[in-house]
Point group: C2
Chain length 232, copies 2
DNA sequence: GCACTCAAAATTGTATACAGCACAATATTC
DNA sequence: GAATATTGTGCTGTATACAATTTTGAGTGC
């Protein structure tokens, strides 16, 4: 065993995806034996992976009772959005001071090249991926590994709700309007960055995220109804 | 075994303290067998604790080679300080909007009550503890568990360097001057919060942290000389 | 019905065993 | 004598076993 790429990492990645997608229902207990046979490994590496996920906020742990899926509540999602605001506004601030003209122009190129996809695709998963990719590319320009790291964690933990939000709250507004708002926010931030207008860039980013934060409570409600209703 | 309070948690707490204090030297490999006998437990729970610490950024892991202490570099410390700025400025912003008059007055009471200790004590460890306690009390008023959680992690990871900074860079400036600057920053932030002057509170907090960030490179240099020099 | 008891079953917590990998020390080749 | 092959040692990665604990559920009394 123990191929160069390692087994525990494979388990860990798999579990993280499962936890992010709430394949474990909120607060549900995780059965180690069952899960280990399902993943084709023994409990030892499984528990190592589970412990990592506890530290990352995907799971909880109670001594003597085992591992549980993290709860899902509006408050928790609001907290995650608030943390995102904290991280991403500081990222924008740093990018404004540090990114080269060239980097920013490259990013503008990336933004323009994905615009057709934004318009054509109405697959929420794909739209979310593009949005995250854009945000992470900005983050990289901050040159702060720690901010990048924290943001990745926050994104992973909030992704499920964002997806629900995209899928089900869109019915209220025409799809194209939402997409345009999203896209234009991205453009406004980037233009402000290119103009080195820090305050504008920061405040636009803030509002861009806070806008979605306010929908979180409703999204959580819908997520619950999704999770506990027989699949279609 | 397995007393109600659990063994793995005991190991975990102990290891976290050891890692925070750099009892493992930067980049040094950790010998699991030796450590497990030292801690009086087997490798299984030890590795579970080590995995948590990897996820928290205290250790690193290389498949097939084992666990290592995190590196220590100026860049990394700068990143941690920058993340602190991101988190704490947003905390102040939220506190300004959410904290009750009463909460803020209580905090002012706390601040005043610790001032004599600030003046009398010249134990860096104690000063640092008081400073952290104050910052965490502000954080609690943000009502954001996530920001509190992230800040705790950042504080734990940067504490060693902050301590070195306090201990050794103080020689340059009279102790009382430094303490006063620290104290007055705390007071200015809190006064601004009481006046609901968000911009003032945020920018003061930012400068309060950034001031210390700039000393990080020098502090890391000193930390290295401390870590690799025979104890006195 | 409802609460309580307690034994059986299931599940977690940890030690241990051992296979396989990594690295260092030694031998071998040219 | 330098470079390469080989062996040896120690450590990591994981499975498994078993003890300790929690959960379940049937039975009992009220």
């Amino acid at each position: 065993m123990t191929k160069a790429d390692s087994n525990v990492d494979r388990i860990y990645e798999k579990l993280r995806k499962m936890a992010a997608d709430f394949e474990f229902k909120p607060d549900a207990r995780i059965n180690e034996s069952a899960l280990s046979t399902e993943l084709g490994a023994s409990r030892t590496p499984l528990r190592e992976a589970l412990n990592r996920l506890v530290a990352e906020g995907f799971l909880t742990f109670q001594s003597g009772r085992g591992f549980f899926c993290r709860p899902l509540s509006p408050k928790l999602i609001l907290d995650l959005y608030e943390a995102r605001v904290a991280i991403e506004t500081e990222i924008v601030r740093l990018v404004c001071r540090r990114a080269s003209e060239e980097d920013l122009q490259d990013l503008m190129g990336f933004l323009k090249s994905t615009e057709p996809d934004y318009d054509s695709s109405d697959d929420p998963m794909e739209l979310l991926s593009m949005d995250e990719a854009y945000h992470m590319r900005i983050a990289a320009l901050s040159q702060s590994n720690e901010l990048v790291r924290i943001l990745e964690n926050l994104n992973d933990r909030v992704r499920y709700i964002r997806l629900v939000d995209l899928k089900y709250l869109r019915g209220k507004t025409p799809v194209s309007t939402q997409e345009e708002a999203q896209l234009s926010a991205h453009r406004v931030v980037l233009t402000a960055l290119i103009n080195r207008d820090e305050d504008k860039a920061v405040s636009t980013m803030r509002h861009h995220i806070e806008r979605r934060r306010d929908e979180a409570t409703e999204a959580v409600r819908i997520a619950y109804s999704q999770l506990y209703v027989p699949a279609d």
